[in-house]
């Protein structure tokens, strides 16, 4: 440790200019992060050991009681499961579909810009507005799908009234919003691939699937990695869709997720301490997954360079 410190101190003299420049460059963001993000994390960590309702002047210290109760809280586990199902489904399905869409768009189809625009617009649509219109769309009677159900004379699924399907209604909207976004990145990646690779492969007589697997996908690794990491983090924070489409129901918390449950605990149930413990556990969880993704991908992404 002290050796390390010593090393850093000597290199400080050598690299002072360089390091000061670094600090100056990252300062604006870090100052704001420190004040508006790091401090709340520390504060929440402290709150997770107290009982408080945000309003009373004093807080009652309860030790790890909040954490202990969390472990026995069925709702906690259900919300954890829902959030994982949502995040993993949206990331995998949306990006899988986006990849295929990008392959299609990359065939230099005429009207490509039009299709790209159409597929990207969901991403820039206000989530609240999207959630509202999907409530109507998914309705088995009032939505356009009722014509399809009628045609086949079947009862359409009542997504929002089913404890198993409600979360999938939310996932559908999540995917809808994500496909175009991811496909633009994939398309850019595909267009950046040097055509010589493909020609060489074709000369070697490689089958299309083999080309996809051994050339396209590895070369796209940085894009895939980038979308996986940022997509997963974003997905764990889904709030508006839940709030507007299901409010966590039809049997709470059958479609509730991390951010929505946190809001419920903190602001509708006034359990600041308990909510903080919940938030801390989740933060650690998402952090761990991201670290894992980073570490794993490092090997994977560097592999092609």
């Amino acid at each position: 440790m002290s050796v390390n410190m010593h090393r850093i101190r000597t290199s400080w003299h050598k690299n002072r200019r360089e390091w000061l420049t670094f600090l100056a460059f990252v300062a604006p963001n870090f100052i704001i992060f420190a004040v508006f993000t790091y401090w709340p994390i520390i504060y929440s960590f402290y709150l997770s050991f107290v009982r408080w309702n945000f309003l009373t002047p004093n807080k009652q210290v309860v030790g790890i009681r909040n954490y202990a109760r969390l472990m026995q809280d069925d709702n906690f586990w259900e919300v954890l499961g829902n959030t994982l199902v949502y995040a993993v489904s949206v990331v995998l399905i949306a990006q899988g579909l986006a990849f295929l869409l990008a392959l299609l768009l990359n065939r230099r189809v005429k009207g490509q810009p039009f299709f790209r625009t159409v597929s990207f617009t969901p991403h820039i649509t206000t989530t609240a507005a999207a959630a509202l219109v999907f409530v109507l769309l998914l309705d088995p009677k009032l939505g356009p799908l009722s014509h399809v159900y009628n045609f086949f004379s079947i009862q359409g699924p009542r997504f929002l009234a089913s404890t198993t399907l409600a979360i999938w209604a939310i996932i559908i909207v999540g995917i809808w919003k994500e496909i175009g976004f991811a496909s633009v990145f994939f398309l850019a990646g595909l267009q950046g691939i040097n055509q010589e690779y493909y020609e060489a492969a074709r000369v070697d007589g490689a089958r299309p699937f083999a080309i996809l697997r051994h050339i396209t996908v590895p070369l796209m690794a940085p894009v895939i990695f980038f979308l996986m990491v940022s997509g997963f983090i974003q997905a764990t924070k889904v709030f508006d869709l839940v709030a507007i489409m299901t409010e966590g129901g039809p049997v709470y918390p059958s479609s509730s997720t991390y951010a929505y449950h946190l809001y419920q605990l903190a602001f509708r149930n006034f359990r600041a301490g308990y909510a903080s413990a919940f938030a801390i556990i989740f933060f650690i969880g998402v952090m761990t997954v991201t670290l894992f993704q980073l570490r794993y991908s490092k090997r994977w992404v560097d592999y092609e360079e």
């Binding site: 360089e18 420049t21 670094f22 990252v26 604006p28 963001n29 870090f30 704001i32 992060f33 004040v35 993000t37 709340p40 299609l104 768009l105 065939r107 189809v109 005429k110 009207g111 810009p113 039009f114 299709f115 625009t117 990207f120 617009t121 969901p122 820039i124 206000t126 609240a128 507005a129 509202l132 219109v133 999907f134 109507l136 009677k141 009032l142 356009p144 014509h147 009628n150 809808w176 496909i179 175009g180 633009v184 990145f185 850019a188 990646g189 070369l219 796209m220 980038f226 990491v229 940022s230 983090i233 924070k237 709030f239 951010a259 946190l262 903080s276 938030a279 933060f283 952090m287 991201t290």
Partner: protein, 287 residues
């Protein structure tokens, strides 16, 4: 774009099935992905009695344009537009500039334990806003920023996502350029402003668009840190239309309000999408 589309449809049709199937498939995908917009539009001009009929009609029998007037009058949307534009542009500018410097530093400047610091930046994306509300509000209160543009602009000005995108983009820049600059004795600031920024301008534009969209669509933060109509932003206009328990939702007005909220951003995207796509191509992901 529209006429091009029809031209292409014909073009593809003539050039035979072989070339037409990706086009047909894409058309189908476009219909599925575009359906919510279509439904939003037709619902916004239906009378309430037509929304609850079964089976639903694709085209309204009565076109009720008053829905738009009623929705517009439900809240001071003109004021909301101004606030959304001002705070959206300001925050976007700051987000991009801050991210530009930070990403450059992480990619091109030496610093011990840089990876750990970068992780600390990524970590900020993992904090849902709900966790930050109360501590942030306390702070805004101390700064005297509650219900001001500062509260709407400064805290969201630091964002990890643009940093992440630019970081990925900068890593693909040819290292020889940097070395050349160094030999010329250019400082980091000079390198950033004279070499990196011009080279990545389209990428910056793309990042800016994503940032702007994020601010434009944000609901909870503006709702909490402002409390007067004069300071509110556009998505809160939807809350004026979304009824709570006793009244019940007037879906036609809600959809009309949704149109108010998303149209500007759609127009912005249509006009900037070339830059946007170029940006992504030039940056993040070049293999």
């Amino acid at each position: 774009m529209g006429s091009g589309f029809w031209h292409n449809l014909r073009y593809n049709w003539r050039s035979g099935v072989e070339a037409a199937w990706p086009f047909a498939l894409l058309t189908l995908i476009a219909i599925v992905l575009g359906m919510p917009f279509f439904w939003m539009l037709i619902t916004s001009v239906k009378p309430l009695s037509e929304i609850i009929i079964y089976p639903p009609r694709f085209l309204p029998q009565d076109v009720r344009l008053e829905n738009y007037v009623e929705a517009w009058n439900a809240a001071p949307f003109d004021r909301f537009y101004i606030n959304s534009i001002v705070t959206g542009v300001a925050t976007t500018l700051l987000q991009v500039i801050f991210a530009l410097f930070m990403a450059y530093a992480f990619v091109f400047i030496n610093f011990p334990k840089k990876d750990l610091l970068f992780l600390a930046v990524l970590a900020t994306m993992m904090i849902p806003i709900e966790m930050k509300l109360v501590p942030n509000y306390l702070l805004l209160k101390k700064l005297g920023w509650v219900n001001t543009y500062w509260a709407l602009i400064i805290p969201p000005a630091a964002h990890a996502f643009p940093v992440f995108v630019l970081y990925q983009g900068f890593k693909t820049l040819p290292i020889e350029l940097m070395d050349a600059a160094k030999v010329d004795g250019a400082t980091h600031t000079q390198t950033l402003l004279r070499i990196v920024t011009p080279m990545t301008r389209p990428l910056l534009a793309a990042v800016a668009l994503v940032s702007f969209v994020g601010r434009w669509n944000d609901y909870l933060w503006p709702l909490i840190v402002t409390n007067t109509v004069a300071m509110r932003t556009l998505p809160i206009g939807l809350a004026y239309l979304k009824d709570t328990q006793e009244g019940g939702n007037r879906w036609n007005l809600l959809m009309a309000g949704s149109v108010f909220v998303i149209v500007p951003i759609l127009i912005l995207f249509v006009f900037t999408q070339k830059q946007f796509v170029e940006g992504i191509t030039s940056g993040a992901v070049k293999g």
